[in-house]
Amino acid sequence: MGTSFNTALESLRTTRVWKSIFRRGPAITNRTRSLAVFGNLFLHWLPVKVREKSLRVRAAYYLGSLSLLLFITLVVTGVLLMFYYHPATPKAYYDMKDLRFVVSNGVFVRNVHRVGAHLLVLLVFWHMFHVFYRGGYKPPHEFNWVVGIILLLLTLFLSYTGYLLPWDQLAFWAVTVGTNIISAAPVIGSEVRFVALGGHIVGENTLLRFYVLHVVILPLLAFLFIGVHLWRVRKDGGLTVGSKDDDGQN
């Protein structure tokens, strides 16, 4: 039965359709194996080789990888939540009730999103502390540290904008207090608060603005900066590379 499956697969691989998708030929030589990665949109981001040491848990406890995985999970659960959520007052609150009590498995999706958000904040802080502890911010990695800080700020802003969306007492007062803190900034404080809230009060404009920030703008920025962050790590040789002296030598 195994061999008949194999022969079926082989005959599939000889079809014109298959060969138009996988143009490199079967991945049996080193060249075709490399092409399988290089020639693929989704895979060519990955390195051709990695150091075996960098795959061990003790290298960096997989903190960065887990952060990325959790971020993707949040995007997926977030999109699922969007099918039932209206960013309007006071419907938003009742939509959250619906998600919890009416929508099939809604409570699960919502909880994964909420718990995941808290976990992501925890993870990125842990990741940052670990990178600091291991000296991963030293030259030539200084810029990547800055990108990491930007990502931390994006995570916190995503957390803050998302917090308002259930439109319950906790959300409303958290945003009231937070935006009042903004208004204490000298000169531009009250103007910034006015634009952030879309008015003088935390109301329907605020909910909509925070929703657009949370769902479109901040995730796009996060994807961009995550790309830069991972690119830098990869171009510098990945994990467990020794730090360089100031003149760039190991």
């Binding site: 007062w173 009231t176 207090v177 009042n180 634009v195 008015g199 009060i201 329907e204 404009n205």
Partner: protein, 166 residues
Amino acid sequence: MSDDKANPAQANADAKREVSRKDFLNEITLGALGVAGLGGAALTYQFFSPKVLFELPTTFRAGNPDLYPVNSVTFLQDQQVYIVRTAAGFYAVSAVCTHLGCITQWKPEANMIACPCHGSKFQPNGKKIDGPATPPLPHYAINLTADGELQVDKLQITKADQVLKV
């Protein structure tokens, strides 16, 4: 040229500022793009600043003065304002705590306005007794309309000692 000999410094200065046509056009273009960029940024900021707000009107009527007994503090929920009537007259005090914006509560048994969030306490005239708030509660302008009703304007802050005599 005799001009060069007379003003060698000027000629030198002119020579140093010599710019090729290509570079000049580049600089002009970058400058124009910069101005356009600044203009675009200003327009974007204006776009995000809302021009029409569907919020409660900031000037509102508080009813007939006789509704309020002497020496009373009445909390108006929708407008978040206390109407205070003393023997001297009326004044309107904001119910929004000046610390971080929570809505305060009137505690008649303690004769004070207290904030549930972080424990700020105010006298009925808005003066701070205790807590993390720094400024006193602002007073809003209160006056009588032509048909004898109280009217409060939340956009006008008045001095704390101003009282509407009725």
